[in-house]
């Protein structure tokens, strides 16, 4: 008995010690390992998807390094600091969105970028985490479930940036921001009745929304409903993507052996449609592995939210986790043909700097929530 007691104690002591190091670094080892695996797997896919384009791979790696630095820094900052900074970050984000609309760079028919060269970035990506954090900040101090007035203000906080982004036009990101903002409200305990009402309202406003959409967005929706409507035009992406995924089979065609991507049948194969490359070259098995890694990250993030110490950090952590999952779901759903093509990257895998930096910064904030909480506990 004593032996086992001793062992238990030793074990917990060792855990304490190990935890101590991570605690000191303000990092979460489980999240870190899972993210590293996703990024590593992502780079393997990316190398093939870019057709072994070294310049692109280096660019991607350097962005990842930058993003990891951001994550480490974000993890060091205590949630109390975020509590102070969030409104400013949000305000700056809104300002940048306005600037983008006025002077931004145009890429693929939409104004999304600011700056030049390596400093080119998309403010809309930043808003993907800034908006849920802002709503969490706002509701975190309120009596919950939120009152109707709080709900209205929250809705305003969500809709203003969403409209600015939709104007770029980038409907996909705008919708993502609405989803993640609404996610916070859900976590905050908004009544289910109200949620049902809201849902009905959205359904009713759909035709009005249709009226305000651009022709290419009409096309996307129609194509989603029937890709064969225009197989060489707007339906081409989704048809070729499904062929890529489906032809991969269970174990895939093998690394660099994907004909759909390497012979250019699959468009956007290093950005939005990179999951199709994975599906083609690594098959159902590869897709399953990536999906499990994503779910582990989401689960771990929810766990952090679950044990967070106050309303603000809880809501922030949960909404970051939900935003991350929704990004994954929308991208994979889009390339596999169950959602319309809205042009969203696959988190941590697709080519594109702003998205990776924003996402890892978000995970840095999650780690901060997790590690600072315990320290606070110690002091209390």
């Amino acid at each position: 008995m004593q032996d086992s007691n001793f062992l238990q104690r030793l074990n917990s002591q060792r855990k304490q010690q190990r935890k101590g190091i991570w605690q000191f670094l303000h990092l979460d080892p489980q999240l870190l390992i899972a993210l590293t695996m996703i990024i590593a797997f992502g780079l393997v896919i990316f190398t093939s998807a870019s057709n072994d384009n070294h310049a692109m791979v280096y660019a991607q790696v350097s962005r990842i390094i930058l993003a990891v630095v951001f994550m480490f820094v974000a993890a060091q900052i205590s949630p109390s600091k975020y509590r102070v900074w969030i409104p400013w970050i949000y305000a700056i984000g809104i300002l940048l969105l306005v600037i983008v609309l006025l002077v931004g760079h145009t890429g693929k028919g939409a104004q999304r970028w600011l700056g030049a060269g390596i400093f080119r970035f998309q403010p809309s990506e930043l808003m993907k985490i800034a908006v849920p954090m802002m709503v969490a900040w706002f509701l975190g101090e309120k009596e919950l479930p939120p009152k109707f007035s709080s709900l209205l203000i929250s809705a305003l906080l969500i809709i203003v940036p969403a409209l600015l982004i939709a104007k770029q036009p980038d409907l996909g990101t705008a919708l993502m921001i609405i989803f993640s903002g609404v996610g916070v409200i859900l976590f905050a305990g908004m009544s289910w009745r109200l949620i049902g009402l809201l849902f009905a309202l959205i359904l009713l406003t759909m035709p009005i929304l249709w009226f305000f959409m651009h022709a290419y967005q009409h096309n996307r929706v129609l194509t989603f409903l029937n890709p064969n409507r225009d197989p060489l035009g707007s339906g081409y992406h989704i048809i070729q993507s499904k062929i890529a995924i489906g032809s991969g089979g269970f174990f895939g065609k093998g690394w660099f052996n994907g004909t759909q991507s390497h012979l250019d049948f699959l468009p956007e194969h290093s950005t939005d449609f990179i999951f199709s490359v994975l599906g083609e070259e690594f098959g159902f098995f590869g897709a399953l592995v990536l999906l499990i890694l994503y779910l582990f990250v989401v689960g771990r993030s929810f766990r952090i939210a679950f044990s967070a110490s106050d309303s603000f950090t809880r809501l922030m952590a949960a909404s970051l986790a939900l935003t991350f999952f929704l990004s994954v779901f929308v991208n994979i759903g889009m390339v596999s043909g169950i959602l319309p093509v809205v042009g969203l990257p696959l988190p941590l895998v697709s080519y594109g700097g702003t998205s990776i930096v924003t996402l890892l910064t978000g995970f840095g904030i999650l780690m901060s929530i997790h590690t600072h909480k315990s320290m606070l506990k110690g002091y209390l």
């Binding site: 905050a188 305990g189 499904k242 004909t259 049948f265 159902f284 399953l288 929810f302 309303s311 809501l315």
Partner: protein, 638 residues
């Protein structure tokens, strides 16, 4: 930023949050399952379907054309060959404005309407990233012109390929026919997949008949292509198998000799080796250049050929159905003796005309021949003799002997265009003219002026049978085939049967035919008396137009209504080497032509190859001179 402090019931908030979290986690799991299910559906359940689609995307079969078999004559002289040529091809996929591009091309390279219409027809048949020819066989000047302007025409290329060429041009078109651009109608007659890369197909003659032998088997390259249709690499390659080479029984030297002998005439000549049925020469004049058709003949040129009164496109040797004229008499004579309707020494008196009875119309003879027996009747071509004898035996034995020789039937030579000729019978007359057979019909038939028709080919074949005293061989143009593996497939002569007649019948008729040449009153004495070899022959003059008793004066009759001349002959009499039939329209030249051809074949035994072509004119000029002089002496062939 100062903040209003709000009282928060922390444990309650925590419980509320955790409840919500549970619901959200549940939703997340459901969404994750939906994704997983979708991927399972695409990658496991639907995998075979998408695998096929993926392969259809990236793997393409490119057909490679087989090399068309060559055609040689019996001595190995090449008659149809494949020459490298440049064609202009368009990949529609890579051309922005097709009609504009074609118009622009037309300004540097002449494009006929047919070129364009063929291109648009092809366009419908092929996929847009296939290369389609718009003009075959560019001249070197056109190649140069296009090369300079190439930058203006993305998606247009010059492609090197092989094109059919007939070195003898006009001389052999009546045998070989020609190949032409393949069209949709042609494709229905062949296995379309085997013609995936083929631009030419045999249109007439040997080229058409042996199309499946000459064409070969298409090859395939399995290639990987990218999204823009560019070839990435070859995955596998099944080489095309060339067609068989064909050796014809034709003697190109003899063919050329016959053509030059018939220069300016409209007619046909067929020469057959009696001991085998092999066709040595087959000529129809005027001839035309088959190479025009290979290149894609212009509408203007084609109209000129088609509308010409000379009818060059009409192959008289196998499609020309001529009245026998007096050549029919030798076959009748055989039946007269064999059927005991008369004896060789039975003599009649010919006053120069014949009447069936007192009230009958007069059937004219060419001359008053006096006392005539069978051999003399052949020698002088005595109509009265055959009037009397044919009435004696009636039409049925005449029809029978003609049918035995194969008249009125297809020879089944290797030409699809052949026509059968006609053996007129009472039954036939009743059926087509709703009239019974009159004795006058028998009389007309007996001198070959009635409804009886024969092609020069059939007439030559029957003459060959006669020379072999009844041994019938299937007329053939095919000597042997040689496969791409140098395997020789000989085509042995086919014996159709033997016409069993009394030996004396053969002998007397052949004697009569010898007298046609050698006899003092022989109808071809003028043309053949000095021949250094033995010849048996029969002349014939077919009326194109009935003069109704008026005297026939050559100069008074319009050209197209003048008499046709017919001639059959074989030589040598013992051990015959060649049997020929000649038909010349509206001219009495048939015996002259025949003599030249026989001279060439029997006296110039060494057959001239193409390289020796220069020597022919000197020899031919000499003989032409002598025969022309003789021809001036007057003609009285009947």
């Amino acid at each position: 930023m100062p903040r209003r402090e709000v009282f928060q019931d922390q444990p309650r908030l925590k419980r509320l949050f955790r409840k919500r979290l549970a619901v959200i986690v549940f939703f997340v799991l459901i969404l994750a399952l939906i994704l997983l299910g979708r991927l399972f559906y695409l990658q496991v359940l639907q995998h075979p379907y998408y695998k096929t689609l993926s392969q259809d995307n990236s793997i393409s079969l490119v057909p490679t054309p087989p090399t068309r078999g060559l055609i040689y004559d019996r001595n190995g002289v090449i008659l149809a060959e494949n020459l490298p040529a440049y064609s202009l091809e368009i990949t529609p996929d890579k051309v922005k404005n097709l009609s504009k591009t074609i118009t622009a091309l037309g300004s540097i390279i002449s494009l006929s309407d047919e070129d364009k219409s063929l291109f648009y027809k092809e366009l419908r048949r092929k996929r847009s990233f296939d290369q389609l020819p718009i003009k075959m066989k560019l001249t070197p000047l056109e190649v140069a012109k296009f090369s300079v302007n190439r930058y203006r025409f993305p998606g247009v290329h010059i492609v090197a390929g092989l094109i059919r060429h007939y070195p003898f041009a006009n001389d052999l078109v009546s045998v070989l026919g020609y190949v032409g651009r393949i069209n949709e109608r042609d494709l229905k007659t062949v296995d379309e997949s085997n013609y995936a890369a083929t631009n030419y197909i045999g249109k007439v003659g040997i080229e058409k008949y042996f199309e499946n032998v000459l064409h070969g088997t298409v090859g395939y390259r399995q290639i990987e292509i990218d999204a823009s249709g560019r070839e990435v690499r070859t995955l596998s390659h099944t080489p095309a198998i060339a067609g068989n080479d064909i050796y014809l029984t034709i003697d190109s030297g003899l063919q050329e000799a016959a053509l030059s002998a018939m220069k300016g005439d409209r007619g046909a000549l067929v020469a057959i080796q009696p001991s085998s049925g092999q066709v040595l020469a087959m000529v129809s004049t005027p001839a035309y250049d088959p190479n025009l058709f290979v290149r894609g003949i212009s509408t203007k040129d084609y109209q000129a050929l088609h509308d010409s009164k000379e009818q060059p496109l009409f192959n008289r040797a196998i499609r020309g159905q001529f009245p026998f004229a007096s050549t029919i008499k030798v076959f009748l004579a055989l039946e007269l003796l064999n059927g005991n309707f008369t004896t060789a020494d039975y003599t009649i008196f010919d006053p120069g005309y014949y009447r069936i009875n007192k009230h009958s119309r007069i059937f004219h003879d060419e001359a008053k021949h006096g006392f005539v027996d069978l051999e003399k009747a052949i020698e002088v071509s005595c109509d009265t003799y055959f009037y009397i004898m044919s009435l004696k035996m009636g039409i049925t034995p005449i029809d029978n002997i003609l049918t035995k020789f194969g008249f009125g039937q297809y020879t089944h030579i290797q030409m699809n265009e052949e026509l059968p000729g006609l053996v007129a019978t009472p039954k036939w007359k009743m059926k087509t003219q709703r009239e019974r057979w009159y004795p006058g019909d028998t009389l007309n038939s007996s001198i070959g002026q009635g409804s009886m028709l024969t092609t020069p080919l059939r007439l030559a074949s029957a003459t060959a049978t006669l020379s072999e005293r009844g041994v019938r061989y299937q007329p053939t143009l095919l000597l042997r085939q040689v496969t791409p593996n140098s395997e020789v497939l000989n085509s042995p002569s086919v014996k159709v049967g033997t016409i069993k007649l009394k030996a004396s019948a053969w002998q007397h008729v052949i004697n009569g035919m010898i007298k046609v040449i050698k006899g003092k009153h022989g109808t071809a004495w003028r043309f053949g008396r000095d021949a250094s070899y033995s010849v048996a022959a029969k002349t014939g003059t077919a009326q194109v137009y009935s003069l109704r008793g008026q005297k026939y004066v050559l100069a008074n009759v319009p050209l197209h209504l003048r008499d046709n001349s017919m001639f059959i002959a074989f030589a040598r009499v013992k051990n015959p080497k060649i049997a020929i039939a000649v038909a010349i329209q509206n001219k009495p030249n048939a015996p002259v032509v025949a003599r030249k051809v026989l001279d060439y074949y029997l006296l110039k035994q060494q057959h001239l190859s193409l390289a020796d072509k220069e020597k022919i004119p000197a020899h031919m000029q000499h003989s032409t001179f002598t025969f022309e002089k003789m021809a001036l002496g007057g003609l009285n062939a009947g």
